[in-house]
Chain length 294, copies 4
């Protein structure tokens, strides 16, 4: 098969965390040849058991594939994977496609794009929403920046991992939209937390607020999911607070580079920071409530 | 009829603005005897034409009814109506019910409650959501503070105006929940505005963000309604920004009295204030976007 | 003597707190006839022992004097003193001068001004800086709104209490400048607290920061006084946090009425609110540090 | 001479901006042998005319000296100078001293420290206050992180450039204190701007506020210098707003890494960002006032 992304493409996958592992399983189920790499090699076991090859380095993973996918936790992890010792960038094939589904800065996405272009590879920044559940079910939503033709070629692979993708502009556009989306989510949950803190401080059960909320224009998908956590005060990590806090930082970095003030986002980021600073364990970002009920 | 609130009760209605007029029409349609008063008397014309009596003063309106309803724009308007010259409080009947559907402070609701008790009247603070549309269709939602028995008696009247009511606690609880609800709405719309400002500043069309939003966990009822306004930059007043700004002020007043910090609410209030200060006309609160695209 | 404010004027003083008592003693020392009133009568003892008459009501205090001075803790206390039962406003003499040195809203100052004009009395809003120390030494600074001629006549009395006064404009101007001044003080001390929190969180002793501060352009009169308190974590009330918090609220109320956004003031107010909410005792506003080191 | 830093040491200086040039002239006047490098070579002319040698690369400058000093505008400029093509780090001598007087993150200072240690060189992070004026007069104040013994050896050089230095802890401590200092300055000037916006919005001349300020506890060294600029609305760059904005970003980055919330700093940073975004020219950070009076 000539196409880099045909139904039986050789795919590399770097980053085998809560998102990467189910994505890898779906790629294997769809019949793709999969080569994986993870900083902590043990995380690859389930995928190797399911048929994946384990590469010795990011570079080796990149060399073994037509389509490379990365999904790691933050910009520094991505930079290490790409440009650290035996980094993936040095293994990318001419004509190959590299899809990064991490959430990083648009500036980093553009830097990667330029580095790929130098090697004759094509790049899509394609961060996702949908969480672990979406990764498992193959129902992720991709926010894509890059060339339309590259996206068209990548759709066969993306279609295994998700049901929807949005082409949002040149490289960096996917990350920009992702940061904007997470900004909205972070403020929605913080708004509920502030409202619950107010109501609780005034002596009224938070359940009353949530009950009214669900009959009102203030209802929101994320609040349906998170409100029960805030009421119970239990925050098992689905989307970890440390990552939401990081994404707010990336959104504010971008905004400050371009001189767009984001006053409520900035205020909320400090609250998430405070909770992160005091946390002893990994918590969902709904734990923003702990700013008031630590 | 013995009940103060039977199907054919005598009802007083003070405040004939965008909410009060359709509420009055629904009360008349349901067969209630309605006496109305408004600071600007001409606003009563449509209701008088439909069969309402026009009182000469708030006091006269209160004297003429078993159930008094007020819905005015802010705390000072309400205080003037109740305790100003020929104020309604001095006309309330022993055994009557007074329902305030304005949005004011919980402290004012409790002060009204105490004044009613001195006169042998019963009070419900019952602010509403649903907007003009809900007022017209009789689909308002009431957030009620006060005695359960009083609410039970008032349900025949509330049922003409709305489909749902929530009993949230003693007097003041209705206002507290209403302020918390509006805080959430104000932050949701501000969050969308901040996200659009970021995306636009980065050179991406806001429509792209809204398209992704609607496929994501960040979707929210209020954003479905307001996003088109923000994209068009047209803000015909549905819920006026000046009233949302006032409600944020009331929420912050309450929070500061009880020592509950609301950082993002406080940040958002200043943005709404800035837009209010620069506005030449009455705008919907979606006009918070004008902070960035004035 | 014809002048209302000659060296031996009859003076009324309402509000015998930490500021009012030393002010009263200075007035007595200067030979003025002094009539005092306080909500808690026992607070008048020292002044009565020093020669003051104790009035039975605010009204009686106002009736007994040519120049009435009030200095109470907040707007509601002032309204009660002026318009409550046997309130001072009803006792003001035609041609008399009324000086309010409380910190209240400019709007309330203008309302008082109008009420005085109706009675033929003249009004100065004249809040002070200088604290207890300035009150004791007769070194207060007055920020004055009102007619220049009234101020000229009042100078003989002000000169007993302070060394400086500034005529800032019509009634309300004194309060406006006072609120702006306290806004600056509150942010200066909060800035030091944020800087100490940052430095401490990074593992460096706060003393290092304060040492450098004192050799730098960041040095400030209020920081010289407050920095030792923040370093020790001891906050005996000099200017109580609850009053600074109230003044920030008044500044924000004014700003929001006129549509001037004050983002950092709003952020700082929430911090002061949080500390106020958690405080078990009366603390100086330097206790804003407790937001980080509770 | 054995000492690396004796009165006639060989000194390298990289970064010949508003600060670096006068520092270089003072080093030449004191009789030191000076080798300089700047990204824009023409900036070296005055120093070469005064006797300095111009190096062909940062590496060459480092190789030519016993004590290397860098003072560039931001972290990325510093990283380029140190680790870019022919970077200075590769030229540092075993036993030499490297002093960085740029303002960068404590994390970068520690990274530099580790890199120096690998080469057998010693590092001081030594950001300065005092501005262009202090650089010209040799009255800079150094905030130093690093080994006390290294500082002792460097004092002969520092003493040419400044009158004071503070040893604040291990590497990174100088930068931490510098960021905390600038946070205080930025908030002081923003506080004055907010106060002037409030006063002006209420119809009172800003000069009135500044006059009272100077007789009050709110007086501050930086406000003496900046208040006239805010009143005139003219902001010739002394300390450029873009650099203050960058330093607020560094302070917030540090705070968010360690989980210390800085609410007012975060609010102020967005204001500076807004002004930076709208600015057509280089302005002093006093131009924060343009947020209100653009």
């Amino acid at each position: 098969m000539n196409s880099a992304t045909g139904a039986k493409a050789k795919i590399g996958l770097i980053g085998l965390g809560l998102m990467g592992r189910p994505m890898g399983l779906n790629l294997l189920k769809a019949g793709h040849a999969l080569t994986v790499w993870n900083r902590t090699p043990a995380r690859a076991e389930a995928l190797v058991a399911a048929g994946a090859s384990q590469a010795a380095s990011p570079r080796a993973a990149a060399e073994a594939c037509d389509v490379l996918i990365t999904i790691v936790s933050d910009p520094s992890a991505l930079q290490e994977v790409l440009w650290g010792k035996d980094g993936a960038m040095s293994g990318l094939r001419r004509g190959g496609i590299y899809i990064d589904s991490s959430t990083v800065s648009p500036a980093l996405a553009r830097k990667i794009s330029a580095a790929c272009a130098e090697r004759g590879a094509r790049f899509l920044d394609a961060p996702v929403t949908g969480g672990t559940w979406g990764a498992e079910k193959g129902e992720l939503v991709f926010m894509v920046g890059g060339e339309a033709a590259t996206l068209a070629e990548a759709e066969a692979v993306l279609g295994v991992l998700g049901k929807k993708w949005f082409h949002l502009g040149p490289n960096g556009a996917g990350q920009t939209i992702k940061l904007a989306m997470n900004l909205i989510l972070a403020l929605q949950v913080d708004a509920l937390a502030e409202a619950l803190a107010l109501v609780g401080g005034a002596g009224i059960a938070g359940e009353k607020l949530v009950e009214v909320l669900q009959s009102s224009m203030a209802r929101a998908a994320v609040l349906d999911v998170k409100a029960p956590l805030l009421l119970k005060g239990e925050y098992p990590p689905s989307f970890p607070l440390r990552l939401m806090h990081k994404d707010l930082g990336l959104a504010l970095d971008l905004a400050n580079q371009i001189g767009v003030p984001l006053p409520a986002t900035a205020a909320a980021r400090e609250i998430y920071s405070s909770v992160k600073g005091a946390a002893k364990e990994d918590l969902d970002y709904a734990a923003v409530m702990k700013f008031w009920k630590g």
